[in-house]
């Protein structure tokens, strides 16, 4: 398993803590692997011919397109990628007048800081130094957190497969890139709406196009900084939100947002035991104090009762003594009186 940038972001239970926290400071300065590739999608050139869809299916061995290429009714609905269509082209602006319609190709954006990689509990995603984000199906347990997290709705899952379902997404033709070829869609596009090259070079090219044709483009390269930047970048002449992009997307990388809370975990693990033991001790002490107070009260009550009893006993003894004395006196008197009477007769 190659060590990737993802491994540097830490904050969880167990071994990850020791591996990560020492290097956490370098994440902020990491600009990305130099020479990594990207693709530039110029929507002002896209005419919706869908050659990219056909090529992608051929390269990846997927079933052919369902709607034929020359049937424009496919654009009546806005589609998304599926487990058999790793890329689709949508028409976003349908000009009634002579202005050309606006199309855009959707696929995995191969983000610089992919949130799918961050949220995968099995570490099944890998951001390669060449640029593409790879998925390793042999590690995946199918929780679909990545499908849930993707802000570009790019991932799909093989729900039809009962035992070996995989996440399906554009791979940026990683194998072809390693051989020095271009991704299938880039080669297939007849209008050159997809340009493949080093990401830094593509940004330069994009700025140059904007400079040369300021009327044609909006002065913004989508994907240059959005959510930390993406490998697929988009140029457009219509506002990006009309192309189903840029809805609340900021420049802060998603992994940072997603894992920010995990920093609390070590605090909970380390502070809670002391805190809770303290509470336990307090409650025990409370009980002990209550018990001793109770005992004191009982003892006091007992003592008081005893004192009372003693007093009563003493009084009774006194009375008894007095009674006895009186009885003795009476008996003596009687005896004397009897003795006197006996003496007289």
């Amino acid at each position: 398993m190659t060590v990737t940038r993802r491994g540097f972001i830490g904050g969880a239970v167990g071994a990850a803590i020791t591996a990560s926290t020492a290097d956490a400071g370098t994440v902020k300065e990491f600009e990305g692997y130099p020479g990594r590739y990207g693709l530039l999608h110029d929507t002002t050139l896209c005419v919706g011919c869908r050659s990219c869809e056909v090529a992608c299916k051929q390269v990846n061995g997927l079933p052919p397109v369902e709607q034929p290429i020359d049937d424009p009714s496919v654009f009546d609905t806005v589609r998304r990628t599926t487990e058999t269509s790793l890329t689709v082209v949508n028409r976003y602006v349908d000009h009634e007048d002579g202005e050309p319609d606006v199309y855009r190709k959707l696929q995995c954006m191969h983000c610089n800081e992919p949130c799918c990689a961050t949220v995968c509990p099995c570490h099944a995603f890998e951001k390669t130094p060449e640029g593409p984000v790879l998925y390793h199906p042999e590690l995946c347990m199918g929780c679909r957190y990545c499908v849930m997290a993707c802000p570009y709705y790019a991932l799909a899952y093989e729900y039809e497969d009962p035992l070996t379902p995989k996440v399906m997404r554009c791979t940026m033709c990683y194998d072809r890139i390693k051989e020095g070829l271009h991704p299938g869609c880039a080669d297939a596009c007849p209008m050159g709406a997809i340009t493949f090259g080093e990401r830094d070079e593509l940004i330069r090219i994009a700025h140059e196009r904007i400079r040369k044709h300021p009327d044609r483009y909006i002065d913004h390269i989508f994907g240059e900084h959005e959510f930390g930047g993406t490998s697929w970048m988009v140029l457009a002449g219509t506002p990006f939100k009309d192309l189903d992009l840029d809805e609340g997307i900021t420049t802060e990388p998603l992994p940072a947002i997603a894992t920010s809370y995990l920093g609390v975990v070590p605090l909970v693990i380390t502070l809670y035991p002391g805190l809770l033991l303290g509470m336990y001790a307090f409650s025990k002490r409370h009980e002990a104090v209550a018990r001793s107070e109770r005992e004191e009260a009982v003892a006091a009550a007992v003592a008081a009762t005893e004192e009372d009893a003693q007093a009563k006993l003493a009084a009774a003894a006194e009375r008894a003594k007095k009674d006895k004395e009186r009885a003795v006196d009476a008996a003596v008197k009687k005896a004397l009186a009897e003795a006197q009477e006996g003496g007289d007769s």
Binding site: S20, V119, M141, I257
Partner: protein, 394 residues
């Protein structure tokens, strides 16, 4: 719905097991097993309405997320009794712990049904760990907490089996286990909420805040308390013969729980309001989603909070039970909102997710399984009462 063979001790089986309860639950369980069979032979597509836009549905929204929240009664009551010294709640600790254990077991069952390859559930721990993932942390904590709950559930077993040495052993671990349980619960209850922080563009701003973890934890506490009341409501009637404590004592416990639930719900409402104020989202309350949010907040948080307060002040048990049921539904509603209702709120309406009848049946089957297990355990082991050999012992 009492069982005629109900008494303290092993069932005699004399009147047979063909009772209405057993029949209905049997049908549900067999049907659930059959549907799971279809799931594993024909895939999730054949049994669920999950889609690529809605990868998480009822099995995650209810079985995992609501299940974990509603099983929170275990750590709440055990902490109250063992850590904070509220000994008067001791009689409900065991039922609450059992509810908790079965609840978390239900979570695991739900996961096994929902995962694409459930036999790979241990992969994050044994093959390839993704420690940056909130789900990894949840999985680890839930696995550990299930173990803790399991151990905490063994005392009645050992008492039943007469294994005194084992019983003393686990009894000595109570404080440590309770502390561990509270730690683990704090982490995974809140991280379940933190899981959604990765999708700021997909979850509606009224539900998405950077404080989701805190919201989830506080609501879980409230859910746990409410669930204990609900469970007590059912158990008290079903296991009436076993219960030793007096009616007054039982009611006093419930009112104490109601008071705690009222305070917790009030706190929850407060932090939700502060959350809206911080993000300046007042104007969102005037939208359709805002109205739905207010339904959740007013109808299922504010209302039970008020009802709990009244129940406690006026000593009316019925109100407390009504409030508890509303709270339980409210927690489920909140988890559903976060996982598939207010999630993808900005997608076109033709893409929304509605659970299929098979998903609902399987969920009901899981719940039935937990109820049946609870019933059997409570009938055979000292859950509702104290074993005479161990009366008054920790």
């Amino acid at each position: 719905m009492t069982d005629v063979t109900l008494d303290a001790g092993p069932s005699t089986g004399k009147t047979g097991w063909l009772t209405p309860f057993n029949l209905i639950s049997g049908v549900i369980l067999i049907g659930g097993a059959a549907i799971l069979g279809v799931r594993f032979t024909h895939g999730l597509a054949a049994t669920t309405n999950l889609s690529n836009t809605y990868p998480w549905g009822l099995w995650i929204g209810f079985d995992v997320m609501s299940g974990v929240a509603l099983a929170a009664g275990g750590f709440v009551t055990s902490s109250a009794v063992y850590l904070f010294g509220m000994k008067e709640y001791k009689p409900i600790v065991r039922p609450a712990l059992l509810t908790g254990f079965l609840g978390y077991f239900l979570v695991v069952l739900g996961l096994l049904a929902d995962l694409g390859r459930p036999w790979r559930l241990p992969y994050p721990f044994i093959r390839s760990a993704g420690p940056t993932s909130p789900l990894f942390e949840v999985a680890l904590c839930v696995a550990l907490y299930l173990t803790v709950l399991f151990i905490e559930s063994t005392p009645p077993v050992f008492e039943w089996l007469g294994l005194k040495w084992w019983r003393r052993l686990v009894g000595s671990m109570t404080i440590a286990l309770t502390i561990l349980g509270l730690i683990l619960s704090t982490m995974h209850q809140s991280t379940l909420g933190a899981m959604f922080m990765v999708a700021p563009t997909r979850l509606h701003p009224l539900w998405y805040t950077s404080h989701i973890p805190v919201h989830f934890f506080v609501s879980a506490v409230a859910a746990g308390l409410a669930m204990v009341i609900v469970e007590g409501m059912i158990s008290h009637r079903a296991f009436h013969h076993q219960v030793e404590i007096s009616r007054e004592r039982f009611e006093a416990i419930n009112f104490g729980l109601a008071k705690a639930a009222a305070v917790t719900l009030a706190m929850y409402l407060a932090i939700k309001t502060v959350g809206i104020a911080l993000e300046d989202e007042w104007h969102l309350l005037a939208t359709g989603w805002g109205a739905w949010f207010l339904v959740e907040m007013v109808g299922f948080v504010l209302l039970p909070c008020l009802l709990f307060t009244v129940a406690y002040r006026e000593r009316r048990l019925v109100l407390a039970r009504v409030a508890a049921v509303i709270t339980v539904i409210g927690i489920m509603l909140n988890r559903f909102n976060v996982s598939f209702i207010a999630y993808n709120w900005n997608r076109p309406t033709n893409e929304i997710y509605v659970p299929s009848w098979m998903e609902i049946w399987v969920t009901v089957a899981f719940i039935t399984f937990a109820v049946v297990a609870f019933k059997w355990i409570a009938n055979h082991m000292p859950i509702m009462y104290e074993h005479p050999d161990w009366k008054g012992v920790h």
